[in-house]
């Protein structure tokens, strides 16, 4: 199979959907003439023209709201945030408008749109440019939240998100755009809300999603050398969450470690932990553990980034603890 970059997979998804449906358009900062801040939309202005690939001023609240209004009136906007840190300027329109519209209109106004862009940290970018809001958005009924970890998933899920009739938050990573992975030539869709067992194992389940999956794979490779076979479940979607796949895996391995690049309080790992203890309590041979970021804003200095982030070494240590090794 051919291998392409994560950003190319996203671009294929966007372009295929725009060819298929004239009501789909892409709007955001630097998406058109600059070819995308991270080159996701490279070449798309040339193909689709400035009616459908639209540069905006730095006015997130305004263009997010314009997207919601356009969706209320029959279009299918894809709104790009240069990063999700800047979505906070727009979050009122995402939460108060997009997520509520169908419900408060008694089912009259669907919001078939996607808000997408990179999430979480990308090296030493300092406190305001390193935040992960997956759980913030996942907390909100009315939204769906997708966080893919490889090019194949990214393409299939972005296509599904664009075709979905509900507002979807689609979160990528600056540190994944260059990653290469196998993506078939033909068209395919992946279902929203279905987790994927990315690695089979019998001793311990590691649940994660998005970029930090890379640390899970690195940890699993190391653990395998010591005879510990970790099963890795990629949630892929954090609203809705595919609890069944997680619970099924835990019933087999009897141990669970959740890895998440986010602050610990009220996080996705908190949620997974609750549901697993409720539904698989009798299967657990050790307390459920998690690895999150530190409970602080991410500082710039490399020493503090190292302390803050989940990484393979930290995962290995916790896995061994739940294995009582």
């Amino acid at each position: 199979m051919r291998t392409i970059q994560f950003r190319e997979a996203l671009r294929e998804a966007l372009s295929e959907e725009m060819r298929r449906d004239p009501n789909v358009f892409l709007m955001g900062e630097e998406v058109a003439e600059y070819n995308g801040a991270y080159k996701v939309s490279h070449g798309m202005l040339d193909e689709f023209g400035d009616k459908r690939v639209i540069d905006t001023p730095i006015a997130e609240l305004g263009f997010a709201g314009i997207g919601v209004g356009a969706a209320m009136n029959g279009l299918r906007p894809v709104i790009e945030f240069m990063t999700f840190n800047f979505s906070l300027v727009a979050i009122d329109q995402v939460i108060n408008s997009a997520a509520k519209m169908l419900s408060m209109s008694g089912g009259q106004y669907k919001i078939p749109m996607v808000f997408r862009g990179p999430t979480a940290s990308a090296g030493q970018l300092g406190a305001q440019h390193s935040q992960a809001f997956e759980n913030w958005y996942a907390n909100t009924p009315g939204l769906k939240v997708i966080v893919p970890s490889n090019p194949y998933d990214a393409k299939g899920l972005l296509k599904a998100a664009i075709r979905d009739d509900d507002p979807v938050i689609f979160m990528e990573s600056e540190q994944m755009y260059g990653d290469k992975g196998e993506v078939p030539d033909g068209e395919y869709l992946l279902p929203i809300g279905v987790a994927d067992v990315k690695r089979k194992g019998t001793h311990v389940t590691i649940v994660s999603f998005g970029k930090i999956m890379k640390a899970c794979f690195a940890a699993a490779d190391e653990l395998a050398k010591e005879g510990i076979e970790a099963e890795i479940v990629d949630l892929r979607t954090v609203r809705p969450i595919d609890y069944a796949t997680v619970i099924e895996s835990v019933k087999k391995t009897n141990r669970l470690v959740v890895v998440e690049e986010a602050w610990p309080l009220a996080s996705i790992s908190t949620e997974i932990t609750y549901m697993v203890q409720k539904n698989a309590f009798d299967y657990l041979d050790a307390p459920i553990r998690r690895i999150t970021t530190a409970d602080v804003p991410l500082a710039y200095a490399p020493t503090l980034v190292e302390e803050f982030m989940p990484n393979a070494a930290k995962i290995i240590k916790v896995v061994k603890e739940v294995m009582y090794k």
Partner: protein
């Protein structure tokens, strides 16, 4: 050459300060390529007259706040370059203890209220700092800097309205370098004379040729006096140019070489140098002495940064809450 009302000392100060800003930023650019400085790194090269022209108009108790293109603004308030360089290195001796980095230069003793990373976020903050001065009954002025891209944020309009309504002593200073990343001002609005944005709120405003430090000084003097007299905010649009890309990772393909050369031919530092020599305010030898002094300051800032330690891992949970024993979730 036209007569000038500025003294020899003022010109010498401007020359030295602008050269320092230029050399400091050039070195920062080199250090970024050497990966001594990480993350995003936005240089001020070309825009120096805005900072230097402010230095000759404000006093020690006045306040400054800006966005992420913030390496030289602390100099306006007398922060020593080495502490800014150390911050760029992420060292514990930096202005923000290595916790802020390139985009977040703070110095409370100097009344430098930071570099801010969310475009436009500092605009209401600047008004708030001014609000506090008025509340406390001082006559201190706040300089609130922003880019041309930032003026398209809704926050600007809410802040402008309240700043006028409550006559807050804040000078809003747009550093219009004509680009917000790759987007030119003309591509963001029908309103391209940015100083006119004050009109809807009756805010006095003026455009300024910010390639001329004299022009910056003159405009700042009027605006600062207006604020200090309790007449409320003032808006200045500094027409400037950044010679480099938006950040170190921007190849700046959206503009022509000719355009860049056109602005470089009006270089603010070169203009002051010409004045100094033509008016015989300084000899070539004296200029050499200043150049050497500036180079030494920059060299020393690098040595200082190299020799300084990174923050210790134990700093992770410090400076997050004012409460010293805040119970973090620690696993």
């Amino acid at each position: 050459m036209a007569k000038t009302k500025f003294s020899k000392e003022t010109y010498l100060m401007w020359y030295e300060q602008m050269l320092l800003m230029r050399k400091f930023e050039e070195r920062a650019g080199q250090l970024y390529i050497q990966q001594k400085i990480r993350g995003f790194c936005h240089l001020y090269i070309g825009q120096e007259a805005i900072a230097a022209g402010a230095m000759s108009t404000i006093k020690a108790d006045d306040n400054i706040i800006t966005a992420y293109r913030d390496h030289v603004h602390p100099f306006i308030k007398g922060v020593e370059p080495k502490y800014v360089m150390a911050e760029l290195y992420g060292k514990f001796t930096g202005v923000s203890k290595g916790k802020g980095g390139s985009m977040h230069m703070f110095s409370q003793p100097h009344r430098v209220f930071g570099g801010h990373g969310i475009v436009g976020g500092q605009i209401p903050l600047g008004a708030g700092i001014a609000f506090a001065e008025k509340y406390k009954g001082t006559n201190n002025v706040t300089l609130c800097y922003m880019g041309d891209g930032a003026v398209r944020q809704g926050a600007l309009h809410e802040a402008f309205n309240m700043a006028m309504l409550w006559k807050l002593p804040v000078v809003f200073i747009i550093e219009n370098n004509n680009y917000a990343m790759g987007t030119s001002v003309e591509r963001t609005s029908n309103v391209v004379e940015l100083y006119t944005l004050g009109e809807s709120y009756d805010m006095p405003a003026a455009p300024v040729d910010a390639m001329s430090v004299e022009a910056v000084h003159d405009a700042m003097e009027i605006a600062v006096a207006h604020c200090r007299d309790g007449k409320g905010p003032y808006l200045l649009e500094m027409k400037t140019y950044r010679y480099r890309g938006h950040s170190m990772s921007d190849p700046a393909k959206y503009r022509t070489k000719e355009e860049v050369e056109e602005y470089k031919s009006q270089d603010p530092i070169q203009r002051v140098l010409t004045t100094l020599l033509e008016k015989k305010y300084a000899t070539e030898a004296q200029i050499e002495t200043i150049n050497d002094k500036v180079n030494l300051i920059v060299d020393e800032s690098v040595t200082f940064s190299e020799e300084s330690p990174f923050p210790d891992a134990s700093e992770l949970y410090k400076d997050v809450y004012a409460q010293e024993d805040y119970p973090f979730i620690r696993e």
